[in-house]
Every structure is written in C-alpha cells, then in structure tokens.
Symmetry: C2
Subunit: 367 residues, 2 copies
Amino acid sequence: MKKSDFIFEVLARKGKARAGIFHTPHGPIPTPVFAPVGTQATVKSLTPAQLQEAGASLILSNTYHLFLRPGDELIASLGGLHQFMAWQQPILTDSGGYQVFSLAQMRKIDDDGVTFKSHIDGSTQRLTPEKSIAIQQNLGADIIMAFDECAEPYDRKYSALAMRRTHVWAERCLLAKKRPDQALFGIVQGGIFPELREQSASFISSLGFAGHAIGGLSVGETKTEMREIIDQVTDVLPEDKPRYLMGLGTPADIITGVERGIDIFDCVLPTRLARHHAAMTSTGRLNLMNATFTRDEQPIDAVCSCYTCQNFSRAYLRHLISAREMLAASLLSIHNIHTLICTINTLREAILIDGTPQKSTTTTRHS
Amino acid sequence: MKKSDFIFEVLARKGKARAGIFHTPHGPIPTPVFAPVGTQATVKSLTPAQLQEAGASLILSNTYHLFLRPGDELIASLGGLHQFMAWQQPILTDSGGYQVFSLAQMRKIDDDGVTFKSHIDGSTQRLTPEKSIAIQQNLGADIIMAFDECAEPYDRKYSALAMRRTHVWAERCLLAKKRPDQALFGIVQGGIFPELREQSASFISSLGFAGHAIGGLSVGETKTEMREIIDQVTDVLPEDKPRYLMGLGTPADIITGVERGIDIFDCVLPTRLARHHAAMTSTGRLNLMNATFTRDEQPIDAVCSCYTCQNFSRAYLRHLISAREMLAASLLSIHNIHTLICTINTLREAILIDGTPQKSTTTTRHS
C-alpha cells in the first residue's frame, strides 16, 4: 500500500450497520472499532504492550494537551507521536476544538479561531484551523480532525453560528492539510436541531473529506435526542467513507452507534472508571472498593479473557484499591478497555456472519 | 522434586563469592539473586508479567503489611500469596520484625514479643515468634524468616539484649514452623560489635536453619562497618546454605555482598527511586525530571535491554513525569529492576566463568 492510500473496505452490512476495514499507513483498523484515549501521549497507567494485549488497534490522543505539553514541535523533532509514545498501530488526533471550548471562561472565539489560556501555566495561546492542522501534522497521527466549534446543544442561535463557523473552518482545514499519509475527517455540528444537523451533514459530506465525524454530542442532550441525531446524520453521510462518533463509548452508546452505521468510537470512560475503582462487566458495573468483594475469589467477569480476569480475583483488586496501590488502575484499565473492545468485536462478528456480504468492496482513495 | 526439598547447589566459587541455584517448590532461584520488594502483595506499579519480563526470579513481600491488610487468613483462604498476587515463581516473606521495630514510639517490646499500633487504623496488635511464623505459613512463601529484634547499631547494651532475644526467638520459630514446603532462615544480629556478630552467627548457624540472613544493617552504620560485618559473619556461616543480606541493594551493596559470599539481596530502592523520577544506569543515577532531558532522544541507558530502554526516549519519560502520568513510575521501575538484576547476573556469569567449578555440588535437604 502506498502511504497516500486510505482504503475503506465495507465487508458486510446488516441494516445500517456495517463491518469493514479502514487501511492506514500504520496498518488496518477493523471497523467498527473502539479507540482508548491517550490524552497526554499515554493511555493512563498502561504500556503500549498492555494496550495491544487488551486488543486496541486504534488510539486517540489530544491535540490541545500535546500542543501545550510537551509541544508538537518537540514531538515532531523526536520522530512524531507514534515513535514518541512507542505505539506503532494507528493513531487518531482530535483538533483541540472540543477541549478549548470546554475551557468556558478562559477562551474567546472569533471567526478566525480561538484565543485561550493554558490550563497548565495560564499563558495565552491561540488555535485556528490552520494552526490545528499544523499541530496535527507535527504529531503525525493517521487520522486527523478538522477544527470545529462545539456549541451548547439547546441554543439554536449559537448552534447555527457555530455550525457556520465549523463549515468555513472545515474548508480552511482541507486547504491547510498537506501530509499525504494522514486522513482528514470533517465534523458535523448543529446541536440538537434536525435542520441544522442535516444542513451540516450535507455540507461537510460535499467537501471531499476522507471520513466524517459527528461532533457536539454527549454535551447535555438526552439519549433519545442523541439517537435521532445519529440516525439523521448517518442517513446523509456517504456510505463509502468511515464515520466517527466523537467521545461516546459506553457499551450502550456503542450498540446505538453501530446499529446506525458508525464505524469509530472513542471514550475516556474505561480508563476514568478504572481510576475510580469501577469495572465494566457483561452484567453491569462493579465498584471494587465495595466491602462485598473482600473475600470474593471470582475474577471481575467470569466471561472475560483479559489479563486481569485470567490472573486476579476481585478480592485482590479490592486489596490493591484499599492499599492505594497504582496497580489497581492498570489492572482495571486493562479489563475495561478489553471489555469495550470485546463488545464491539462481537457486534462486528455478528454483522460479518448475519449481514449481507458486499460483493465488490467499496473502496476510496484519498491523498 | 518433593515439596519438602530445598536443595542449594553451589556451581562455582571465586574467592568467597559463589554462584549457585536454590531450588524451591516454586522453581529454581539462580544465585546470587536480587529480589524486588512487593510490600503489599504488589511490586508497586508493575504486573507480574512485567516483573517477570524485567528478569525477576524471586520477590519479597512484607509480613507486617499483609498481616494488617488484607490479613494473612484472608490470603490463605484465597489460596495463599502466590495465587493472590498471581506470582508463580518463588516468594520470600520477612518476619515483620524490622517493620514493627521501625514504628519507634508506637511499639513495646518484651521477652515474649512486640505489641504495637497499626499504622493503618491505630489498633493494638501483637507479634510473637509463633505468630510471625503462623502468619508466614498462611501467606505460604517459599522462604520465610525467623522473627528477630533489630537494635540501634551503636548501642552495645541494647544490641546484646536484642541479639539474645533474637536467639531465643529463633529457636521458638523453628519449633513453631510446620509447613514442609517452606524454608525457614535464621537471622544474625549484633549491631556493629564484632564479638556479638560472631556469637550470633555461631549460634544461629548451630540451629539447623535452611539458610541464614544478616539483619540489622543499613540502619546507620558506615559502609566500612557494613563490609567488616558481612566479612566476619560470612566467615562463620556454613558454606552449604544460602545467605541473605537483608534490605540492601544498591549496585555497590550488591558487589560488596557477592564478593563476600552473599546469595540473596532485596531492596525497595529500584521502585522507590522510580517513583521519585530517578533511573539507575551503568554510569550512575539520572533524575529524569531534569530539563536537560527535554529533547533527549536517547534511551535511559544505551546498554540496557529492558522494555523501557528498547521503546522510549528520555524525552518521553520526562514528559510523562512533567504531566504526572502514572506510566512514568511503571517504566522507570521496569528499568531500575532490570538494571539491578543485570548487575547481579553479570556477577553470577563472572563467577561461573572465572571461578572454580564445584565437582560434587554441595546440596542440603531440609524439611
């Protein structure tokens, strides 16, 4: 495969759901896929070897954080993000937009970009579409994201304004992007307003991105609203390019998304829950700090094949948590990530087995 | 091998130094050996798989800590310490004596044992020789230690008293010990006083322990005093049983000990340094928080073959430390443990190559 080729193969479809492979310069990503989040160039508490063993094939890292520390130019000078963090499989970076908008009082948005104060040292910083792409080119992820504006979901006026800016910025990102070994995805915005979402999906789809994302969800809307938006947007997005549902990743969200034709998910949930002593299981969440588990010799989840469940009892994990041992977070992160990846792999298998095989695979090349 | 057999093979000698194998129910320990410390049934921040990959063949765990939390009976009910922490290779437990004596104001010693306040909840607890052995039998380590009293090294009167108590307690420990699949080691005390150390070494050696340890070092004495004590005690201890230098493990200590015929070392240093951002290298210590390393693309140590050095730059480690990421402690622990184990393995190789092979290996069986 040439470095400039990002081929998206759809292998089977079942309803709107699809199973495929997205080929990247750092190898194939079987889709649908769940990407663990490595905000600061590390999926918290895990080595790349542990992450790979847990089943990860794609990870996400945050442009905002890496721009501020250690700096994208430093990472570029050390060979890029893959080499820096020793993860040789595909990486996706977000645009920094969502993090910057989350700073609330600490940022000012204008039509050209966003000025904000660093959460690390209070210094004044600025991101524009061109700057976001330049940073992401320095980082060198396989999948990079257009710089967008994420609005309050229920504010129609602001949602419309943010959407229009997102569209202008999308075009500027496409112009700014130079590296042929990166696939740039556009982001659909529009809050909870069907006509805005439709307009945004149509416009973003028309620009020739290598893939499309649904942004601005999980910021306060109801699950029903979320499902309707995903349904509506995926009806508009082209079939032959991968679709990414940004920041959502409970087991329920993954099922909702896959059923509606989403291919890529990311979420901090598995590692964040792990640091708060919670395990995701096939029958719900367990908080392993609970005294119930003091003498429990069972693994977290009897049906789980992860390193943690193959080796350790709930009683041992509870002991590590009580004793404030760092290993607790690592072992729970391994389990939670593995659980989410297994959930999505099961859905993928079901689509491949029960779905309609795609005779001539739909492929697209981008540069 | 029957479970009751602990065979110590001396393969080669060079001066007082020896290279051998100590066979245990959980497999052979090549000696001299460095044991990383897993105080609370975990070598901090590492999985057993990472520990094994770093080269560990023996680990130490602390009776005092496990007695208080989660409790030795709980560990026994879950199959013992090996199963609890998923470490299937040999384990050594200390007697709890050293930790209890370190509590200073919070403990009271009498001829029968020690009453102390738990550092966790302030509850009153008691350890006696019999209780220490009972706890260690519940934990189920391969090598267990006699309950001893560690005195201030320069107080002759107290050193003599503590030594006499240690001798009486040693006999009580031998009587209390029942499990044939555990090797009980006696501990030589006597502060910095040559006549006490000699007396202690002779007496402890006469009792028929499976191995012998030098206790009460690294508590304030000079390096010269330490070397003299090791020399003196190893001159008295029998050749055909393993010798353990408790709590010492800088590279210099290891060289000092191996040259004088020590077979087993343990120390918290590699993991403690790791949590304080320091790396042990072939040319000294590096503090990776130092700004010098911001753009340093070299591994911690160019001659090191550990997972950390094979995959990560000093710049990446510095970034993890600056960003307060837990992975920093794991990666530095892997490196430091691997470095100490390589140091001792190099010494072992040198003894095997340059030393005098032992025609008929000296073996001893204990039950």
